[in-house]
Amino acid sequence: MDIGNSTTEACVAAIDPDGTVHYLGTDLTHTTGVKGTPDNTAGALTAVRGALHRAGRRAGEVTTVLLNEATPVISGLAMETITETIITESTMIGHNPTTPGGTGLGVGTTVSIDDLAEQEPGSPVVCVVPHGWDFDDTATAVDRAVGRGVDVVAAVLAGDDAVLVTNRLTVPIPVVDEVAAVEKVPLGMLAAVEVAAPGRTIRTLSNSYGLATVFGLDPDQTRHVSPVARALTGNRSAVVVRTPSGDVTDRRIPVGELVLRGAGKSLRVDVDAGADAIMETLARVQPLDDAHGEPGTHVGGMLAQVRDTMADTMADGAADLVEVSDIAIRDVLAVDTFVPAEVRGGLAGEVALENAVALAAMVRTSRSRMQLVADLVSDGLGTATAIGGIEGEMAVSGALTTPGVDRPVAVLDLGGGSTDAALLTREGECSAVHVAGAGELVTKLIDSELALGDREVAEAVKRYPLAKVESFFHIRHEDGTVQFFDEPLPPQVFARVVVLTSDGPVPVPTRHALDHVRRVRREAKRRVFVVNAVRALRQVAPGANLRALDFVVLLGGSALDFEIPDMIADALAGSGIVCGTGNVLGTEGPRNAVASGLVRAYAADSVAAVPDAPAPGLAG
């Protein structure tokens, strides 16, 4: 039996006196509780009984239950944004409403529509319309003012009325709508409103010199407004108001320093230097003994949070409390990411892509309580239990039952919390490593980069291919294949990007096109699994040389993913490695490797204990 972070796998086998193994049945179920804690017992019993049922055997026939020596590896995640966009004095509106009105550029002084009747003709005016104004009344008021000779050049609306207003004006003007906090637009200031034609983006307000021309700025002031231009790039509409000290700043948040200790030295790296710098520093202190964040900084908080969570889970139900200071972080994976965050000071819920760093940390403790689980399983089944074998060695042994695999073989166990690699050399020596970052981090990256705010949806995006619902009766898959349905698709998925789960299409709540969602998904998988596959294999490969590896077998839940195995195989292809998803026992796919390996090891041991027995045909 193998109790993993997310699944518990069992396999039943009969062993002949000569050591020949007959596999009778397998089963898997969700792991109950945190791996290595007594809570695991329920899941373990379910898996054993399931496997026995499939094998057509009774619990009373079982001689011994073999349990894995669970590697006490727990992982934690933290994410922190390192940039922040702030708009001061409400100088900019750049939220891209779906339907702005009119086209062109209008530059004038901001005047509330309530005061438009008293406005003297002369200078150009940008009309600001608060909530509660009907589109007919707005158009009438503007037309009346224009009739009196007031030069109304543009309008900014609270409601979703821009096209309706523009359609009713005698002389159409550019109109930006859906500005929720329109009452904060400063009045009596010079403002520019630009709306591009459908399918185009604004040209003037997203150009620093365009802004300089519109507002008559000197070179120094132009330097000052260039972040505004940058923030508006790619928009179809925008409003910029010139106020005495209004500004859009792109601030870097000091996140603090990460202190990495290992290999007899202690190195510091600024987290806002990005993932590459962190990983490069980490490589210089391998093997890592511990990692700390400067107290009082964001990174200090991030790591403290990871440590606290781990202390809690490990102490859960235990008589002896785990000291937070006992928990050493043995590996870190830093990933550059971006988080769409609402802009501080924005008037229309503007969102800016802020840079962020995600950290996965892995902790090793000496406190596995697998013996407790073994005792409980023993009570539950009324049989003997034995804890045996290092997980990595057992996984390699199980992987060797995959058709077409031979020594030297490396396995990559793509799990939820950590990515594990183990190598079995031709001579039979085994080495194993665990690196931080796996499926959970991928889910987290997808969740934050698409601003889903829903772990379940992010998990579905990770797990299933995408499609676009193109009509009530057909969808286009992400590879371009079109599929028709006899029954109409529900209206809530109409025209949406969906994930094709086993329960049918589920909408992904995003304004992004399918291509963008797909890119985010694949990039998240690449940055975690491909990076970690190479990193972990380098650590077990002789001389850190990937070319020294022959066979790489992918195991674990994420080896069942529809694209991760291909991405890893692609990345390793250049090193002349045979890489593929394992097929344990020729039937189990990437599952059950550790459980099968435990049986093989037990059979080999039982034969070795009887010197006269004929040599079993097990090894290799």
Binding site: S471, F472, P488
Partner: protein, 124 residues
């Protein structure tokens, strides 16, 4: 055959007693999205139209969708309930409905939804 001179438009079939405010908002919702509407009071439906001479909002909407060159119709009943329908959908399974007791924002949304069915944009 089709109402509204055969111009591509979302057809709105309304009960003669439908609130004028509802009709205004429904049409505004579609107009804001840039899709034209043609209104046909069911009592005065053009000859040859298969608009029912009454009925509930869903039946009106389905008839309007069948008559629309864009395959999209809106039905507005006497109580102000607005239903959006597509010609290819089953008669009793409309694309959207305001339900009874609708308010102006609901009517506006119904018009917008109809336009979005035409444009192939998410309905939300």
């Amino acid at each position: 055959m089709t109402a509204g001179d055969g111009r591509p438009a979302v057809l709105v079939y309304r009960h003669p007693d439908a609130p004028p405010a509802a009709l205004r908002e429904v049409c505004a919702g579609a107009e804001e999205e840039g899709v034209p509407t043609v209104v046909a009071p069911v009592g005065e439906a053009p000859a040859g139209s298969d608009a029912p001479a009454g009925g509930d909002a869903t039946a009106l909407a389905h008839a309007a969708a069948l008559a629309s060159r864009l395959d999209v119709g809106i039905g507005l009943d006497a109580g102000g309930m607005a239903v959006v329908h597509h010609a290819k959908l089953p008669a009793r399974s409309p694309a959207a409905s305001t339900g009874p007791g609708a308010a102006p924002p609901d009517w506006r949304r119904a018009g917008r939804t109809a336009a979005r069915v035409v444009k192939g944009l998410p309905l939300g």
